[in-house]
Assembly symmetry: C2
Homo-oligomer: 191 residues x 2
DNA sequence: GGGGCCATGTAACCCGTTACATGATTGA
DNA sequence: TCAATCATGTAACGGGTTACATGGCCCC
């Protein structure tokens, strides 16, 4: 699902500027399952406008660039619904953090500790963010997705806390002859 | 973290062919937190070879294309460790499924049900896959990452089961007056 | 017999990321 | 004063995905 479609979706929640849509991907309810920078949002909005899937109202502001408020058109909404009806692509998850956790034995203990700390902090922060979102006027799907994200962050941070010892206390740097591969030459001084 | 680096990491687990590395991203222990297709793996391996970060042994096979078994060189290992020591990029999670769950009210109930079913099935399948991986000879980090993945899949599938009713029984299609739920940006500031 | 597995690779394309460019206001 | 927030956009670059190209074996 590309940024254009996601922008359409964002606009079903109400008219918004590119700047505001970006915030939705950053802070708001979208951040959990997608993200997009200005460099993709603004061009997407431009393309959407050309295709009459959105309209724009330009509000002049004296001290800032004009604010361009975008709204969904009926055909934009129709296209979005059509996109939703298509079979979803596979989820895609990429985690530099888990790569490091996985290869813990190739890291120094202090680097590993740092990764652990930043990861835990990340999950806790995200959970906090989600908790602060008001779900009163959300309909079912919104609430569901939000709670799912919350559960995810809470579970992951709980996991990190519970298994900290396994990772950090039992830490043991790679001896480099663990039997996994054919021998190469001596791993000299490294780093 | 790019595919080249990930290939280096894959090779720390033992010599492998491009085909085998691909399987690691597909089935194996890498699938949880990264994925890569042949179209990125083979070129990556080629580049790694040119840079002397891996070596290759070409085994002629009569009935198939030659099998090219790649091995990490000391400098490849060193580079990989250097990459691990760098601060990790933010996790990136993209879920077409959750987008659909979030916008449930813009879908037909049957489409929504289908998305729910396929998502649940996905998590259950993934969990099963991870459970079948033998963790006996894994070191801490490997086990940790694997268990983290397992916890993730189990939690998500449990969440889906627990909250099925909220999503599907309380389902209520969008009234669709004008497509938007509220208005923002009525004026520059307020007034 | 046909589909899936083994096994490798290339090339085009698309899309998104990053960096660049501008600039005033507000709060610490 | 310095950082952050508001606010929009462009251009180049890079990377990965997709599709294309090949072909025999093995199991159902």
């Amino acid at each position: 699902m590309d940024v254009k479609t996601l922008c359409l979706g964002a606009l079903t929640l109400g008219d918004a500027t590119g700047y505001e849509i970006h915030k939705m991907f950053d802070d708001g309810p979208f951040g959990q399952f997608y993200d997009a920078g200005y460099g993709s949002i603004y061009p997407a909005l431009g393309a959407l406008l050309k295709a009459d899937l959105v309209t724009v109202v330009q509000l002049a502001q004296e001290k800032r660039p004009d604010k361009k408020v975008y709204s969904l058109t009926p055909s934009g909404l129709a296209l979005f619904k059509k996109a939703l009806a298509e079979p979803p692509a596979k989820d895609r998850f990429r985690s530099d953090h888990i790569v490091r956790l996985f290869f813990a034995d190739y890291m120094s203990k202090s680097d590993l500790q740092a990764v652990y700390d930043s990861y835990l902090c990340h999950f806790q922060t995200q959970a906090e963010k989600l908790r602060s979102i008001d779900i009163q006027n959300f309909r079912n799907g919104r609430t569901f997705a939000l709670q799912m994200g919350l559960r995810f962050y809470e579970t992951m941070s709980a996991f990190l806390v519970e298994n900290q010892g396994q990772l950090l206390n039992d830490y043991c740097p790679n001896p480099m002859d663990d039997g996994t591969e054919q021998t190469r030459n001596q791993g000299t001084g490294d780093d």
